[in-house]
Symmetry: C2
Subunit: 281 residues, 2 copies
């Protein structure tokens, strides 16, 4: 165990372990915490890993506690790693004033503006620094998939799209599919990236798919009763159109009656884990 990786919690769960760790992030220039589910098979050798990126206001704990993902991950022999959703312990001007910008709302991008660019580099953190930490100290191999919810569903899409060949599987729950064209994304990108909208396109999944497509089969679940869908924050239709135009295989499932909550995620997480299992095992 790396002396810089401090175990802060360990709970037996479905024959494996849920663990939480604290470490110093060089990329984010702060202390960070993250959660891991290790299936029983990880005691015999390295296992594939599914990255889960959470949504606005979450920490590493919400998904682990509420999604009911451990049982199937245990059966499939897949580890799950949940990063936090922003740098922590910093105190930048306005950082803690709103739920959709600053702390808890890092949007998995690298900020370009002051004062955010010093700490808000969640893209580099989740695609580069944290994978190195995890693979160095935990029993996972280099077979990786990625998924997430809402802001994190979009983060998963962007991470996969910007790194062809890195992830073998990709899915998302209710992703913010086209942030350059919704209120959440416009607020976040203005703050983190500045006013030049051309710079924004490099962090928008719909734009990235439109440019380059994606070889991975993408599974997306979207609740039809999701208030944020109705508000135009999610725009799955934009993602669908971009996938069609670029011949990217997208399985977009509209789920009648389901909202944006973890009850929605819990209901369909088994399908997503099985989807990832097809490519990760």
């Amino acid at each position: 165990m790396n002396k810089h990786l401090e175990e802060i919690a360990a709970n037996r769960s479905f024959g494996g372990w849920h663990k939480r760790f604290r470490h110093r992030s060089t990329v984010l220039d702060c202390e960070m915490e993250f959660g891991v589910y290790l299936p029983p098979s990880a005691e015999k050798g390295p296992v594939p890993v599914l990255w889960w990126l959470s949504g606005l206001t979450c920490t590493d704990e919400n998904f682990m506690q509420k999604a009911g993902a451990h049982q199937v991950a245990s059966e499939l022999g897949i580890a799950i790693v949940c990063p936090d959703t922003s740098p922590r312990g910093t105190d930048l001007p306005g950082e803690h004033d709103s739920y959709d910008f600053g702390s808890g709302a890092g949007f998995y991008l690298n900020a370009a503006t002051d004062p955010w660019r010093r700490h808000y580099r969640m893209y580099d953190y989740v695609t580069d620094e944290l994978p190195a930490v995890v693979s160095g100290d935990l029993p996972v191999n280099d077979v990786q998939g990625i998924s997430g919810h809402s802001m994190g569903g979009h983060g998963a899409l962007v991470c996969a799209l910007k790194n062809p060949g890195r992830y073998r599987s990709l899915s998302a729950f209710a992703p913010i599919s086209n942030p350059t064209r919704c209120a959440w994304g416009e607020k976040a990108f203005t703050g983190y990236l500045g006013d030049d909208r051309n710079q924004w396109k490099d962090w928008d999944a719909t734009e990235l798919i439109g440019n380059n497509g994606c070889d991975l089969e993408i599974l997306v679940d979207q609740g039809e009763a999701d208030n944020f869908l109705k508000e135009g924050q999610l725009r799955p239709e934009s993602l669908e159109k971009a996938c069609q135009a670029s011949s990217t295989p997208l399985n977009l499932r509209m789920q009648p009656g389901y909202d944006h909550s973890y009850f929605f995620i819990a209901t369909f997480i088994e399908d997503h884990l099985q989807h990832h299992g097809r490519f990760l095992r």
Copy 2:
């Protein structure tokens, strides 16, 4: 729908509904909230109901969000009702000062001392008033089982033991089995019941089983790595001894490595739901 039962949340979950309600409790003399999981089959007619009593510090929400119980309840066609763990909205002297007494710590008994006896009547609430409210307004029938965790595991035992024939099934996770002989129970019973320890016995599951036994097969899971077991708060050995003495069928399963958390509950909730399903369907 009773005009006094206000729906405050509704989420689709595994084809059914998680709902939360607010109502005025006459017994507790305050406004209360509770949670319900209704399986898909409840849309066709009344279904059996499992009462779940939560532990110290919980509200009606913890179990619903963290236990992963909805999938199997959906498959079995069983509703789950989660009451809160104490009266709310009151402000008695010292009521909110500690996690193990007062708010969040009602211990599912009827208090006998001032000022608690005016509001702290959680036993009457969960065995009498709330069942009438639920059966009057929600699609459940009179086939009932009961379970719970820690303080609520003990509450489930006491509710069943004091009402032979009322519940068809009974289980508990890490119950406070013998509260008259542990620190949590001594503090709570002194506060709610007074100094006469003879009065305490009527609210102690081990004492009640020792006196009268129980016809139900009781399933109990207890994690061996549970810190509260080590502290002597749970005393499953006392429960086991009382069951043996009274020929009460107890299946006490010691689970190596598991602690007191919802990860422990989530791991074994399917077994408990199947146990209840055997008697409720």
